[in-house]
Every structure is written in structure tokens, then in C-alpha cells.
Subunit: 245 residues, 2 copies
DNA sequence: ACTCTTTCTTAACCTACGTTAGACGCTCGG
DNA sequence: CCGAGCGTCTAACGTAGGTTAAGAAAGAGT
């Protein structure tokens, strides 16, 4: 069931069969389904138990009273939300399902003493948390210093690479269940401008969209345009041709 | 020596004298000094041992080959850099001293088994990591959705509140060793525009600058202008009058 | 087949911010 | 005391991206 998580962790850690069994066990206890659009947690809520995304996309977002909204992160299959977040008093952001979602609740006690019992697994989970932090820094850079074109392109490159890491790409194609409003909120742009940028990418032959699927026919060119250097994802086996450095 | 860290942690956790002794011990082993402007780590470097900032300011930044640069975070006295970062292969960002800095190297083995030996302390350290992540999300929101005026104001509010948490404010005043270039890089703006915004804040009576000190004569008004709600800092005792929610 | 609703798309216009340029004042080394 | 170098400040102008508005497409439910 938690095959995406396992696939991701195995890119950077050697998991024993016992580790894999433990992950399965972690993830099997209690699973939930959410419909697209449903909120998992709202700003101000008391954080609940950590959860693992088994299927589907969600996003973290923060918003102002006047309606401005920023998506501050994407949660893809195999991602945790949030391993330790329940130490905090109140959520500082919301989490909402973008597509129908399947998730597993992780019981806190299952993680106790993990560092001693299964050090490789504990390290892999710590690695995942660090990567989430690194992605967050890249997003700050993205909205802070990239142009609109670079920004959207970068988001697409990141999504593709992250899905690739969990085996959810097919050739140059993958899912893209975000609508243009959501792309705008993730990049700090207006919907209209996102539309303009997508058109330019399409005309340049760098992007094809049909329904909720996207295809990136010339990934190296898109990576270059986006100033995408995949190092920040800290994956062990980056595709050499996907790198600009 | 690590009094700022202790002060910060005691806002949210009950530390036993033994915990405090342990922190002192952690921090005393090896200390370093860096001059203003020196780099602690560069993008691509292999991460070193975790460090604790005892005195002085530093910043994390990422940049492009064409010179664009984004400061993605500030490291203030009492902050860690980075508790677990040495699990990663390569730094995804740089860290540079903004002022002369005093820091302590934390030996990894000192943290082993901490969860069992000193659970309250281990939780306090995990809390600190989570707060860093929360701040990073707020920065993404800041550069993504706030106007230039709000952005700069928000940065000032955050700096003030974080310094207050470690006891480094005096009345309405605190240090601000960042020059306008650095403020621009932290907010995703140009230097010229930061200057314009600072002028507006000064004229509005919300900011007074002399040398490397700033004074915020009307903090509630500045908080409102900045859309600053201190919840994301997850401090236990927020000043009620400093909140807008 | 219909509406209802959401999403996408484009055009016309506007503004918040960036860019370029230069003046002015520190401070620090010689 | 001088200049070099850096940081601050301001003005003039340019542009990337926002806003408003409205039509076209695409689903979703009946």
C-alpha cells in the first residue's frame, strides 16, 4: 500500500525487509479517504496525528482575510503530513485535498524508539523531513526571484521530478490535477498571467496539456528555462540529462 | 553561554536543571567566531556538524548565476543550523554571517538517544525545527502574496518578535544589522524599492532607524499593516496587543 | 438534450515595481 | 587630508504582471 513512500525512500536509503514491513505496518492501521476540495486541517486547528499520503494530491496553503491565498506546498503520494507537527499548539496553515485522497494515520507510539530499533528507517524519515524543508526554501526563491515564466516552468519541473521519484510518470507525461487558479496560488501570480505563461510554454513546444495530464516534450529545455537544478530535492539518482549543472 | 536558546525553549517547554546543564554542555564543546560576511557553508558543500548560534546574525540564501539572490531565512541568536542537515549529501543553499558571529558546534553523538534520556529537551529541539519550517512557509507567503510595503513591514515585525523571544529587544527597539540590499534580497524586492518603502514607513511614524538599530514606535499599527499574526512563530506567550487576530 | 457551473482563454487597460543613473554622505586605509 | 568604496537616497522612465471584463469550452447534474 505505501509503495510510493517505499519507492522514494529506497532512492536514498537501504531498507531491510524488516524496515519495509514496518512501513507497511505503520501505514495499514487506519486509512481515510477524502474527496477533492475537502480540508484535512485548517489554520488554527490543533494538529492531529501524523499522516501519510497513499494516493492523491493535497496542498498546504495560507490566506489573508481579503482573499489573497498562497499555496506553500504540495503533498504528493508518498509524502508525510507532518511527522512531528502535533508538537505544536495550532496549525499555522491549512491542508486541503486537491484530488480524492487516500491517507493513513500514523500512530505516534509507532515512531517511538525508532532511532534505536530501526536506525536506517529513522534516518530515512528524517531525510524526508529535511527534503520538505529544502523544497520550502526553493519555493521561497521561486516566488521571490524567478520571473513568471521561470516560476511556472519550475513548478512543473519540480512536480515532474517528484512524481518520477515515486514512479508516477510515464515517459514525458504525468498527472497535473491543479487548475490554473491553483497554479497561480502556488506561484504567487494571477490566474490570467498563469494562462498567458502556459500559452507561451505550449507555443514553445515545452508543454502539452490534456485534461488532468501534462506532457513535457523537451524536459532539458524546460529545466534550463526554469533554472531548475534538481539538487534541492536531494534524490540519489538524478537524471543527468535533467540537470542544468 | 547558550542563554538565548534556553530563553527561547523555556517559552514553550519546562526544562529541568539537568536539561539546561545538557544544553550548556552541548554548546560549550567547541565554539567558533566568524567575521561579518564570511560564509559558513556554500551551496553544494557537504553539510558539516550541526551548529548553534550563540551571538550574531546570519542568513541562508540561494542565488542564480545571473546574480539574482534570495535570502530564504535569517539565523538569529539561539537558532540552530541545522539539527539534522548533515544527513544530506550536499547543501542546497548557502549560509553567511551578517554580523560577527559566535557559534558552537554540536557533536552528533551528544544528540543520540536524547529522546529517551531527556524527552522534554528532545521535544523542545523538535519544536524548534518545526518552527523553522513554519517560518519558511510564512516567508513563501510573504514574497508570494504581500505587497512591497506589507512585505518589508512583515519582515520587521518578525525580526522584532523573534528577538523579543530571546530577550534581545529594549522597549520598542532592537538591532537591525541588515543593509537595504539584504532587506531587498530577503523580501524579493529591488534595493531602490526597499528604500522607497522604508521612507514610507518612516513618514508614517512606524519605523525609526539609527545605524544598526531600529525602533518600532507603533508596533500594533505596524503589525496590522504587515498582516502579521504571530501564531506562526508558535511562541507560548504572544503579546496580546501585538496580535491582529 | 438541457441548463448550471466551473474552468479556460483572450483583449484592453493600468499600476506596482524594476532599472538606470547619479548625487550625497559615511568610514576606513594610507 | 585624500580618495576609494560602500551604503543611502531620489528622480525619470520602462515593463512585467495585475485587473477587469467577457466570451468560449468543458463537464456535471437532471
Amino acid at each position: 500500500m505505501p509503495r510510493y513512500l517505499i519507492r522514494k525512500l529506497e532512492q536514498v536509503a537501504l531498507l531491510s525487509p524488516e524496515d519495509r514491513r514496518l512501513i507497511e505496518e505503520l501505514a495499514h492501521r487506519r486509512t481515510f479517504r477524502l474527496a477533492a476540495g475537502e480540508e484535512l486541517a485548517a489554520e488554527g486547528d490543533r494538529p492531529a496525528a501524523p499522516r501519510l499520503f497513499l494516493e492523491g494530491w493535497a496542498c498546504r496553503s495560507k490566506s489573508f482575510a481579503d482573499g489573497r491565498r498562497q499555496i506553500v506546498g504540495l503533498l504528493l503520494p508518498g509524502d508525510f503530513f507532518d511527522l512531528n507537527l502535533d508538537l505544536l499548539q495550532a496549525m499555522d496553515h491549512s491542508v486541503a485535498a486537491v484530488t480524492p485522497v487516500l491517507l493513513a494515520e500514523i500512530r505516534r507510539d509507532a515512531l517511538e524508539g525508532l532511532a534505536e530499533r530501526r536506525p536506517a528507517l529513522a534516518r530515512a524519515l528524517a531525510w524526508d523531513t529535511l527534503v520538505q524543508a529544502s523544497i520550502q526554501r526553493e519555493w521561497t526563491l521561486n516566488v521571490g526571484r524567478r520571473t513568471a515564466l521561470e516560476r511556472v516552468a519550475h513548478l512543473l519541473c519540480e512536480i515532474f521530478r517528484r512524481l518520477e521519484a515515486v514512479g508516477l510518470t510515464e515517459g514525458a507525461a504525468c498527472e497535473l490535477p491543479l487548475n490554473q487558479t491553483e497554479l497561480a496560488d502556488a506561484t504567487g501570480l494571477s490566474v490570467v498571467h498563469v494562462n498567458r505563461v502556459l500559452r507561451r510554454l505550449r507555443i514553445a513546444g515545452l508543454l502539452r496539456l490534456r485534461g488532468r495530464q501534462m506532457e513535457l516534450p523537451d524536459l532539458p529545455a524546460l529545466n534550463r528555462l526554469a533554472l531548475f537544478s534538481p539538487g534541492y530535492l536531494h534524490l540519489a539518482r538524478p537524471k543527468p540529462e535533467a540537470s542544468i549543472r
